[in-house]
Amino acid sequence: MKHKTTLLIIIVMIVTVLPLRKTIAQNNFATAVAVIKVSVVKPNNIKGSEIVFGDIYPGTEQSIEPGDVGSAEFVIDGEEDKQVNLTFSLPKILKGKNGDDLAIDFETNDFGYGYEDDPSNAKFLNQNNFLETFLDEKGKLYFWLGGKITADINQTKDEYEGNIDILLEYTAN
């Protein structure tokens, strides 16, 4: 019985994990192809995950701090020591499919950045969603974005959409 249970768990995990491994392997392979075709210089990647607030209840506020579960995580992986500027254009409302608005707010401490994949060591941005900085000696820069949703007591149940707009400029080119 124990063998069967063990076997079942292993099969479930393999079935769940294999597609992830395949996706990751594909991404890595694809990146390598780009390097070979174009140049010996490292490609400039921006990777990111989206900010996820989960389910929101009418008449409540929901905040996510940078680095919390659900916050957006980004990493620039490019050429070493490159000077870059990052400018964020952030929405003030999200639009529902039924046409209603949902308020979203980003404050100065909702943006953290750093050179390690560790939001607890992040510095906070306090300058109008603008950062003048550089990539480190490995070509990396990490940043995290939180935010706050405020749902009205009569907020319509709906999916509300919007976009975060990130401008990355190479300033020593």
């Binding site: 994990v17 400039n44 990777k47 990111g48 989960g54 929405p91 976009n163 975060i164």
Partner: protein, 298 residues
Amino acid sequence: MKNSGIRKYGTKNNLIIYRDRNIFLYILLLIIFGFLSSAAKIYSQVAINPIAIYMDEKNRSGKIVVQNTSKETRKIEIELRYGYPITDQDGKVKIKYNDSTSSEDPSAVEWLKVFPCSVLLNPGESQTFRFWGQSPESLPDQEYWARPIIISQPVKNQSFEENNFDKITTNIGTIYRVAVSIYYRKGNVNTGVNIENLTHNISYGKINFLIGLRRTGNAAYLGNIILRLRDEGGKIVKEIKRETAVYFTLQPQIVLDIADLSKGEYKAEIELNTERKGVQTSDILNAPRVMRKLSVLL
């Protein structure tokens, strides 16, 4: 006997080892599963190469390869704009975009073409965007500039199904805009730089240098600023290196942390050179090394 584990491994001690092995196996698989799940959270959105394109009258074309490494189809567009780095009064570098250019501006935007301008890229697909152009003969010999902005945005699914949400949820996408550079060199081009002024102030354990630079020649100065601080014995106690691009004038700020230095007289040494990493030698416009020294009293 249904309990084959006990039957196979016999003694009670062996049974404990067998169970321990199972627990170890579960934990190991959970760690692997957890690692792969967390690895799947962050995924590539867009990869761009290169971030600088050098063209001239012999080589009138260039290309950028954009790859969609995300899990969703994305729309990739390219906008061509004219812009160059400037600094504000605090020495912060920003890109100044001039959408309406005059004949004085060395803009390549008007006669440079890009194809395609816009594509949909499925996950894992890549696209080569080609630039080509020929500078009008009437234009003087010099370097002309453009800033391609690569825009990567999610493609919204147009759903005509009746909305029937029983809760409030959000769907927040990310639009990436990446601004890179094109240099088109017409005829004889050369560059250089002069240090026009150099100031510093000391506060809160830091020296802030403002380095006023003016380009010479008819092409952008693409190089490095190296700032060294030497003690009275000539030993380098601090050194910092930054890439710089002087299109017209620039007054970048460089900050040295001196909290760990003892009081005394030091010499600051500023060097500018055109030794760029990651750029083909044939694309580098060499210029004479520039040096400036000043005394700093801590």
